[in-house]
């Protein structure tokens, strides 16, 4: 399955920005795929172009991963960008403004 769409929601909560992001990805483990694992390795969160979270992930992350992050010091309208890169070089990203 190729990389599907991503969904993201970023909302200003009490004192922080709550970012929830859904990625469509099979996240195949070594065992499931008979030695051809396929999983996201890098997740990057950017606010107005500046990286704030760098994640490294393994095949132990569930299929169609959902991540939540919290950012401080932001305001409504800030542009949040989340991107991922998997072990086969596939990549995807999504962008949303803080609501």
């Amino acid at each position: 399955m190729a990389a599907g769409p991503m969904k993201m929601r970023a909302t200003l909560d009490a004192g922080f920005i709550d970012v929830r992001v859904l990625m469509t990805h099979p996240m195949l483990t070594q065992q499931q795929s008979k030695g051809q694992p396929h999983f996201i390795q890098n997740v990057t969160v950017k606010v107005n172009g500046t990286t704030v979270v760098e994640g490294q992930t393994s095949q132990a992350i569930s299929r169609n991963p959902v991540f939540s992050f919290r950012l401080k010091g932001g305001a409504k309208g800030d542009r949040i960008e989340v991107s991922w890169l998997d072990n086969t070089g596939e990549t995807n990203k999504t962008e949303a403004a803080v609501a």
């Binding site: 922080f16 996240m27 483990t29 070594q30 065992q31 499931q32 390795q41 890098n42 990057t44 969160v45 606010v47 500046t50 990286t51 704030v52 979270v53 760098e54 994640g55 490294q56 992930t57 393994s58 095949q59 132990a60 992350i61 569930s62 299929r63 991963p65 959902v66 991540f67 939540s68 992050f69 919290r70 950012l71 401080k72 010091g73 932001g74 890169l85 070089g89």
Partner: protein
């Protein structure tokens, strides 16, 4: 004579291997950092060593929110908050998974040391979280019981 030939061949093979590894390295570095050694570790102790957190001190300032019993090991929600001031990284290890290290997050200025993620668990296991603050490592664990494993097919 035969033994010597073997040795030379092995040596040549090792050289070729080193050469290929040397060539591949810059490409991997370009593609973004992924700690292959730590993620490939088969025991939690090895994984901890690879991320440089072998001697992490226990801390109750790391909050792990997760179900005590996960019915489905394929999706186990885990929420982690570090209350240690200056936390710059959080790593999640599922001790009994085939590859224990599940994820590692680095937090820069502008992010709170918080993450929520769904993980797969092969069997009932301790989930270990390592938080890094000011170059020091702190750790906390929580046991999650799994009724149906989620790593195989």
């Amino acid at each position: 004579m035969k033994g010597r030939r073997r040795k030379i061949l092995t040596f040549a093979g090792a050289l070729a291997g080193a050469w290929v590894a040397g060539l591949l390295k810059p490409v991997a570095a370009l593609a973004a950092a992924w700690n292959k050694e730590a993620f490939g570790a088969k025991t939690a102790a090895d994984a901890l060593k690879s991320i440089g957190a072998a001697g992490a001190a226990a801390s109750d300032a790391i909050v792990i929110e997760a179900p005590q019993i996960a019915e489905n090991g394929a999706v186990v929600p885990i929420e982690i908050t570090s209350k240690i001031p200056g936390t710059t990284a959080i790593a999640v290890l599922i001790e009994k998974n085939p590859f224990p290290l599940a994820a590692r997050f680095d937090f820069m200025e502008g992010a709170l040391p918080f993450v929520k993620v769904n993980v797969k668990m092969g069997e009932t296991s301790d989930v270990r979280v390592v938080a890094t603050a000011g170059g020091k490592h702190f750790t906390a664990t929580k046991e999650i019981k799994v009724t149906i494993g989620g790593c195989g097919g």
